[in-house]
Symmetry: C2
Subunit: 289 residues, 2 copies
């Protein structure tokens, strides 16, 4: 529902308009993702973009993924959003922001089984965004506060579909009310850049207590990072990555060291990123046209 | 959780510091509310204020209620907030905003059985406020948009305690998620003065479908007011009053006529108020000191 874009990690995608209709995918990474466009997150988005544009051409894309699939860092959203934005540039900026989100959701659906825009929208717009509703799509850009983000990706597999399944279908009204307060507080905190309010509101009483069971040492990570000065944080996406927000870079780095030590000690391979909120979303770095 | 202060209706309260310890209550209205301070919403607040101040004096208050008790318009909150602010002025502005809210909650608890600050806080601060949490108390002033508010109070009795009881203890996660989106949208809409977003977010999928059963013609009122141009609305407090927001006074007046006609036709006595959002909260109109 609320999503934010990170500066790092990021994927690199190169696009080329080709005469032959269809989509050609080349992977330049170690993930062995499908090159059949019908089975590739970026592929289905590019096919849909070509169809929507109604032109008799094709797109060749070279993908260098740096965001690990299954990390909870929105890897599929990055592929999907990158493909939508890339196709749009190639085709002459014919799509609206809403078109781009709708196109990218086709990729998110392929990856996660669910058409959602929580991760795609910040990839496309940058900053922190709210998706109020999917049907109809209602996108609300909120803010791009100057906060530091530390993320740890412990190398265990939590598939999004599993993480969704363990959620209960019903929740206590008293918990739902508490959560409404926290979400309202978080939105107001981001919009007013009220860091105390953001910190107090970074509390998920519904999803996190259930999903965090799948993430080793989650409670310890959260507790010790907050003791070290982090504003707060939680599960990134459906996990297993954990994010923490900090007001300054020093704290963000200390938080990263704490995360690394905890997972090193229990022998779980891990990657730590210390980064900021990406204010721009998908970026065009060079064009050969 | 979110509350807003109205310009009208309002109560009038006159305070006087007296030598004899304790609280003396005089009513100047037709509601026959208790004059025993222990049983009167304003009374318990004044007693608590005197105790907190630790002075050996008393307060005499004359109360002219114009907000009907049991209307869902925050009548008890008005008495409680008025008493807290009045006592504070008499005692030399010794209380913080949080003190005032804490004091007024004692009155709200007497009236409704629940210590909540959703109605009290906008009475004290004006505008639209968010209570993120009661324990600990976390007050977030949001905004004071220039919107018009139409309220109808159909003369049927819905006791707050009853309205609370019919709520289910559990809600569907999918409904809770929808509600999180709407609350986040509402907060962002009020803060950005984005009237389209406010309008789209004025949808309660959890409480309203249950509580509105107790309010005759609720669905018809809402539908016809929106057809006439109202941005949206819902149940005021725990009912039976219904509020609608409008962007301009003409629409707000038309909406008031529609409300009146619907209840006149089905023979339910009703009061309609066309007013604005009160930006200041409790106001001191004159002082005899």
């Amino acid at each position: 529902m609320l999503g934010l874009a990170l500066k790092e990690p990021y994927d690199i995608m190169e696009f080329e308009l080709i005469d032959e209709p269809g989509v050609v995918i080349q992977n330049r990474d170690q993930f062995n993702l499908p090159t059949d466009p019908e089975k590739n997150v970026a592929g289905v988005v590019l096919l849909a973009a070509l169809e929507k544009a109604g032109i008799n051409k094709g797109i060749k894309v070279t993908i260098e993924k740096r965001i690990k699939p299954g990390s909870g860092l929105g890897s599929s959203a990055a592929s999907a959003a990158g493909a939508a934005v890339g196709a749009n540039k190639l085709l002459g900026n014919i799509f609206s922001t809403e078109d781009l989100v709708q196109l990218a959701m086709i990729g998110e659906k392929l990856a996660t089984g669910v058409k959602h825009a929580d991760n795609i929208t910040p990839c496309i717009l940058g900053g922190i965004t709210l998706i109020r509703s999917i049907h109809p799509l209602d996108i609300v850009p909120l803010a791009s506060p100057d906060l530091f983000v530390t993320v740890v990706h412990p190398q265990i597999e939590v598939r999004t579909a599993d993480a969704r399944q363990i959620l209960r279908k019903q929740v206590y009204l008293k918990d739902a009310i508490k959560q409404w307060g926290n979400i309202a507080g978080l939105v107001a905190g981001f919009m007013n850049n009220d860091r105390g309010l953001i910190s107090r509101s970074l509390e998920d009483v519904i999803i996190e207590p259930v999903r965090s069971i799948l993430i080793p040492a989650f409670d310890e990570v959260k507790l010790r990072c907050k003791e070290a000065g982090a504003m707060g944080g939680g599960i990134s996406g459906s996990g297993p990555s954990i994010f923490m927000l900090s007001e300054n870079e020093d704290t963000a780095r200390t938080v990263g060291d704490i995360m690394k030590n905890i997972y090193d000690e229990i022998g779980i391979e891990n990657y730590v990123y210390v980064t900021t909120i990406n204010k721009n979303g998908v970026e065009e770095t060079a064009s050969r046209e």
